[in-house]
């Protein structure tokens, strides 16, 4: 073989191998394991959409393989989905926001070494010393502190009536609200739990009003929040309502007339539909185009979480361990807020209060609480 042919062959081989090597290095797998059916389908679909949009925005040169697997609402469904996804050696997983599913997935993530990126609000998932879980949504310790502080410090109310859900979500929120109010020197004048299946809110509203409160504080799921706000408007309760994060969801506001929303506020980690920055408005516009619905804070939190993973991958973090280390040690400026771990995997430490003015279903951000301490 002439020398020039040897040189050409060697160069071609080297180029081919180099390309292949770089192509292999740039291919990552990020499965999306979320509940898109069952009672948490609304929030799970937001999670899925946020993750999918972040993957679509991956840096050029990064080939992301992603499969969406419906976990349903059972712990077994989530474990099975993670088992199935682990076969492809994922770099990270967009993991269910359902606390019971996360608790079931944690041991497996630890065993296989897979970072779980979630927006689950269940406090205990980051209290088990598992280094593989990262929560891109403020926990109740953050949001309920903001909730109580807005009621007391901004509205000047000192006689809250707290109505919450009988579910784990409701109980956790109520416990944190009680602590937050206690730190502010305020004792709720009324507290009662409501089953999510309850349809008529008049009984609880009547009892709450009989306690002579100066503000209604809600921590309910989407449908019950809308039912209570509507009932309060019909009853002309005449006192402000500061609701939980379900109220900020566009699908909740869509159930009510703008007039019924007048004076209603809500805590949330973010409100994409309220705008604020050009990047956020671009996200909202693209989300609407892609999914034919409005984004909520869950979608934005999951988007930011997966975006941070992809940002790390594009900068050379090529293994799950490297991704875990970046998430645990870095600061990332997302669309909703700036994220950093508190050492337990809690990445979000900010919350907002949004209020409706009665003229539309788009709330305005009226107060932002930054860097609230996590417990």
């Amino acid at each position: 073989m002439p020398p020039w042919k040897k040189t050409l062959l060697t160069a071609t081989l080297a180029a081919t191998l180099g390309y292949a090597a770089s192509a292999v290095a740039a291919e990552v797998d990020i499965p999306v394991l979320v509940p898109v059916t069952g009672f948490l389908a609304l929030e799970g679909t937001s999670q899925r959409n946020g993750a999918v949009l972040a993957i679509r925005h991956a840096a050029e040169g990064l080939q992301v393989h992603s499969e969406v697997i419906d976990t349903g609402t059972s712990p077994e469904g989530a474990v099975t989905a993670l088992e199935r996804a682990s076969g492809d050696k994922p770099l990270a997983v967009a993991a269910s926001m359902l606390g019971t599913q996360m608790l079931a997935m944690l041991p497996l993530a630890d065993e296989y070494g897979i970072p779980l990126v979630t927006v689950s609000g269940t406090a205990s998932i980051t209290e088990r010393g598992n280094p593989w879980v990262f929560r891109f949504f403020p926990g109740d310790d953050v949001t309920k502190t903001a909730h109580a502080r807005y009621v007391v410090e901004e509205l000047g109310k000192r006689r809250p009536a707290v109505i919450y859900q009988t579910t784990a979500y409701g109980q956790s929120g109520q416990a944190h609200l009680r602590d937050a109010f206690a730190k502010l020197g305020v004792q709720p004048v009324f507290e009662e739990a409501v089953d999510p299946g309850v349809r008529d809110m008049l009984p609880v509203l009547t009892k709450a009003m009989a306690a002579n409160p100066d503000v209604l504080v809600l921590h309910l799921h989407s449908g019950p929040t809308a039912l209570l706000v509507r009932q309060a408007a019909a009853s002309a309760a005449g006192i402000p309502i500061v609701a939980g994060s379900a109220m900020h969801q566009p699908s909740t506001a869509a159930l009510l007339e703008p007039a019924e929303l007048k004076g209603v506020c809500a805590e949330t980690s973010a409100s994409p539909v309220s705008g604020g920055t050009p990047e956020l408005e671009k996200f909202t516009a693209e989300y609407r185009t892609s999914f034919n619905t409005d984004p909520d804070a869950f979608a934005l939190g999951q988007y930011d979480g997966i975006a941070m993973v992809l940002d790390a991958a594009s900068k050379g973090a090529a293994t799950p361990e490297a991704i875990r280390d970046v998430l645990a040690q870095s600061t990332y400026r997302g669309l909703a807020m700036t994220y950093r771990s508190d050492g337990k995997g809690n990445m979000a430490h900010s919350a907002s209060i949004v209020c409706y003015d009665g003229s539309s279903r788009i709330p305005a951000i009226v107060k932002r609480y930054e860097d609230l301490p996590t417990q």
Partner: protein, 290 residues
């Protein structure tokens, strides 16, 4: 005054629950099988009303006959797929097949309409009326009136028409009915259609005030089951009474106690009724309890 207000709300809620329970008990009487998809058919009726409202911008009372007719077709389809092929198998086969139908309806609604809660249009108007010092929702009055009409219509159908007599004969003794020349299979399919139509009506009535989600059926089938057990397994009047009792616990009793305590009290009342009067308040058809 507040108790009167709560009673009005309770009657409206109970009237809608009664339609759910009636559809449940109709199929139970005709087939001896529990239709676990009944709650999901109520949900389907609610979403159908939402979808039709998008196509036909009309108040609920215009949409109601259309929803009931389309739901009747769905009931026929359910009987053809989930009951008739399995009618000679052990009862558990029908339980499983109706549970499967319910899951299909749930997931179908999620795919078609999304997971968000939706609201159907009100029957007439969404305002409130001041009646004797009470603030009564026009929708609540309309729901009560519509449910009462539908229940009365069903009573008339079963007591004063040849079709009703055939349906009752099929429910009481299918073998004897067949021997008398009654097309039992057709009667059973019609019963499924009637039950689904009532479910559709309940779905439309409930989904305006209380919204509808793909998973709403689970709670409703539980209420229907309790209503029928309280009222008397197989009794149409008992189903209505049981539904009204459940709604009373949800409104009046929960006002006096709390929602959690009212729920516990409801189940205690159920246990007490079963202990003192196992056949339920209005007696019981001689059937095996599911």
């Amino acid at each position: 005054m507040i108790l009167a207000q709560l009673l009005v709300n309770g009657v409206a809620l109970g009237a809608a629950y009664a339609l759910v329970a009636l559809g449940f008990v109709l199929v139970l009487n005709a087939t001896g099988a529990v239709n676990f998809a009944q709650g999901d058919m109520v949900m389907a009726g609610g979403f159908l009303a939402v979808a039709l409202a998008g196509l036909i911008p009309a108040p609920g009372f215009v949409l109601l006959p259309l929803v009931m007719a389309l739901m009747a077709l769905l009931g026929l389809a359910v009987s053809l797929t989930a009951y008739l092929p399995l009618r000679n198998r052990p009862p558990v086969s029908v339980f499983i097949s109706t549970i499967a139908i319910g899951i299909i309806l749930q997931n179908g609604a999620t795919v078609l309409f999304g997971p968000e809660p939706k609201a159907a249009p009100p029957l007439f108007d969404g305002g409130t009326l001041a009646l004797a010092g009470l603030q009564v929702s026009e929708q609540s009055l309309a729901v009560t009136g519509t449910a009462a009409l539908l229940i009365a219509g069903q009573y008339w159908l079963f007591s004063h028409t040849q079709l009703g007599r055939r349906l009752r004969a099929t429910a009481q003794d299918p073998d004897m009915a067949r021997a008398c020349g009654i097309p039992v299979t057709t009667m059973i399919a019609l019963t499924f259609a009637l039950g689904a139509a009532l479910a559709g009506a309940a779905g439309l009535l409930l989904s305006n005030q209380f919204f509808v989600t793909p998973t709403a059926g689970g709670g409703l089938i539980l209420k229907a089951y309790i209503a029928v057990t309280i009222g008397g397994w197989g009794s149409l009047a008992g189903a209505v009474a049981g539904a009204l009792l459940i709604a009373t616990f949800e409104t009046v009793i929960s006002y006096s106690l709390s929602y959690t305590a009212a729920t516990a009290a409801l189940y205690l009342a159920l246990l007490a009724i079963l202990a003192v009067r196992p056949q339920g308040l209005f007696g019981e058809a001689a059937r095996r309890r599911a």
